[in-house]
Amino acid sequence: MFQNPEIALEALPGFDELEWQDLHPHFKRRLRAQFAIVILIVAVAFAIPTFVPGVPLIVVVALWSAFMIVATALMIWPAITVPRRGYVLRDKDIIFRSGVIWRSVTAIPFNRIQHVETSSDPLDRKFELATLQLFTAGGSSGDLRIDGLDKETAEQLRTFILKKVGASIERV
């Protein structure tokens, strides 16, 4: 029988007292490794004007000091951004938060998920991590992307969500 009891707005479950699940601790190191590769490539590119005769010293110094500032910032960044990311799995939806300056909290109900994808690139595999992507209708590439999950956790999440998605479809 169809029931539709009235529910007071205050009684709706909010999610401010939720316990956010952190990402895997390896994720910081994985991000640093990724940035380090980029920094290395840029350093090689910068080395060329340094050793070419005739380039004024001031240019070289300016170039390298800018490089050092950006490189340091990139190395510190994972320690700032990773603790700000987190997810909560609830009975009917999944919530993900991210962002340092612009903080956002995104919620996807399970009965709107079209498909789920886990992936891991070579760096992820080195640190035993995986990425979980959730897709809803009308969205573009990956409507919710959770990087830096433990490999097993990602698989567990995937099966759990798929089961929930299936259940919600059967009910309809």
Partner: protein, 501 residues
């Protein structure tokens, strides 16, 4: 041709050749150079005079296209199954299309002037999730299209659709006459845009016209005629006016071509529109597929006091994401509210989408701050400082930019607003015109709350609601309100037993 006996391959009417000729011509127009290159080579190699060459060229061209169209027709076959339609096509590269009825969002038909005499239509299937290659069935009878439409809406199990091909109990919702065509034509933004685009070109042309007129005046003077010097200017102005008139007439003609004798019906749970002067278009859309209803008003439309209403369906995936839009080109605010009550029933439709309604709640005035800072103050200051060494105090002229941005930000804040009840939400926005977007809570796909540093300090947040047809943002509302709305929306979505599509 009958819609019966599933499981046999059939061809469409031979008049489909016309459709294929049109298709090939369009293809050639798109890739003109590659397609015409061999023909051109042949013409150059041919020995003879130019007229003969041209005649021979066009004969060969017509022959090639006709042959290609006949072949395309011959190899185009389709089969109706219980739950899908198979289309096999392609002369050299064979292609089979399998369109499941349940994925079909709408059956649209086109009828050009020849087909209209023959009672034939070209069907275009609107499918969800297909990227680009949607199916077409050229030159089938109208009865076939109707029976197919009825069959699809029963197979896809959409509610209590009571469509019967024999006795259409369609309910006419509205009809547009020639005055509405004038309105559509006048409000066509493309005419304005084109005018803005050729405006600068036109100025030079006017200059030339003026000098020509001056010469004419001098010449006339030497012959002893008296002509006012101002005539040159008048000629320029009249040429400008003539251009505007031509543009407006063109867009009015375009409105007649597309929307002449526009009818809007509600056929059970299917919304249908017909219209068009030479080629008749018939669109259909299931009410359940509507994701957002949009009411738009440009400057011209504001002046004329009417709106354009569109119903949007889920976007199809793929790289070239296509918006599927059901267009109602002219409505008044009152009619729009009546229509939305019919279209969104029984889940909603109780709210007004009229942007001038006093019911809309405004967003926080802090909304203007970032616009003024990043769009006005910072660029203006940067320009002042950058040009100071060269221009000195004159560079303060750049500060004029600031009041302009402030005025625009104020206007866009005044127009931003939202309105909701237990089932639906309407967001209002606009700068020169107005735009309101209405949606049902239960069809929302995902939702996110974003806060910048400044918003955190002021306890404000922006709410973004993602629908299958795109997203809607409600900027700068109280954080508590945003959270309350989000929690309520999640509750609505998660407890909804109905399909969102």
């Amino acid at each position: 041709m009958s819609a019966s006996e599933p499981g046999t391959w059939q061809r469409t009417s031979p008049f489909a050749i016309l459709f294929f000729i049109g298709k090939i011509l369009r293809l050639i127009a798109k890739n003109a150079w590659q397609s015409l290159a061999p023909l051109f080579a042949f013409l150059v190699a041919y020995q003879g005079d130019l007229v003969n060459k041209a005649i021979l060229g066009s004969v060969v061209f017509a022959l090639v296209i006709t042959t290609a169209a006949v072949l395309s027709y011959w190899f185009f076959r389709f089969q109706l199954l219980d739950d899908s339609i198979l289309i096999r096509q392609g002369v050299i590269k064979k292609k089979q299309l399998d369109i499941k009825f349940e994925r079909i969002q709408g059956v649209n038909t086109r009828q050009n002037i020849v087909y209209r005499y023959l009672g034939l239509v070209t069907i275009a299937f609107d499918t969800a999730g297909s990227a680009g290659s949607e199916g077409n069935l050229p030159a089938v009878t109208r009865e076939f299209a109707d029976s197919l439409r009825a069959r699809i809406s029963t197979t896809s199990g959409i509610g209590e659709s009571v469509v019967t091909a024999d006795a259409p109990v369609a309910d006419t919702l509205m009809h547009l006459d020639w005055r509405d065509m004038l309105r559509i034509g006048l409000a066509d933004r493309r005419a304005l845009l084109l005018f803005a685009f050729i405006g600068p070109l036109f100025e030079r042309f006017a200059d030339n016209a003026e000098t020509a007129a001056m010469e004419y005046v001098e010449m006339a003077a030497s012959y002893g005629l008296q002509i006012d010097i101002n005539n040159g200017l008048w000629i320029g102005i009249s040429v400008a006016l003539l251009l505007v008139v031509i543009l407006v007439l063109t867009s009015i003609a375009a409105a007649f071509l597309r929307f002449h004798d526009f009818h809007l019906y509600l056929d059970g749970r299917t919304l249908r529109s017909t219209g068009g002067l030479l080629t008749r278009h018939e669109h259909s859309m299931d009410l359940g597929k509507i994701q957002t209803l949009r009411l738009q008003q440009g400057i011209m439309q504001r002046w004329l006091g009417h709106y354009r209403m569109t119903a949007r369906q889920a976007m199809s995936g793929g790289r070239q994401r296509k918006q599927k839009v059901f267009d109602i080109p002219v409505v008044t605010a009152a009619l729009a509210d009546q229509l939305r009550a019919r279209l969104l029933a029984p889940d909603g439709g109780g709210l007004t989408q009229d942007p001038t309604s006093p019911l809309f709640a405004s967003v926080s005035p802090f909304y203007m701050r970032s616009r003024i800072l990043y769009g006005g103050l910072f660029p203006a200051m940067a320009c002042c400082i950058a040009f100071w060494p060269e221009l000195g105090a004159i560079s303060l002229v750049f500060l004029i930019w600031l009041p302009v941005v402030i005025a625009l930000a104020f206007r866009s804040w005044r127009r931003a607003g939202y309105l909701h009840d237990d089932n639906e939400l309407i967001r209002r926005s606009g700068l020169l015109g107005y735009r309101t977007v209405g949606l049902l809570f239960r069809k929302i796909q995902r939702i996110s709350i974003t806060q910048s540093r400044y918003q955190r300090r002021k306890d404000l947040a922006s709410l973004r609601i993602y629908m299958a047809s795109g997203s809607v943002r409600i900027p700068y509302i109280e954080h508590a309100k945003a959270r309350q709305l989000r929690d309520y929306i999640l509750y609505k979505v998660e407890s909804s037993q109905q399909a969102w599509h």
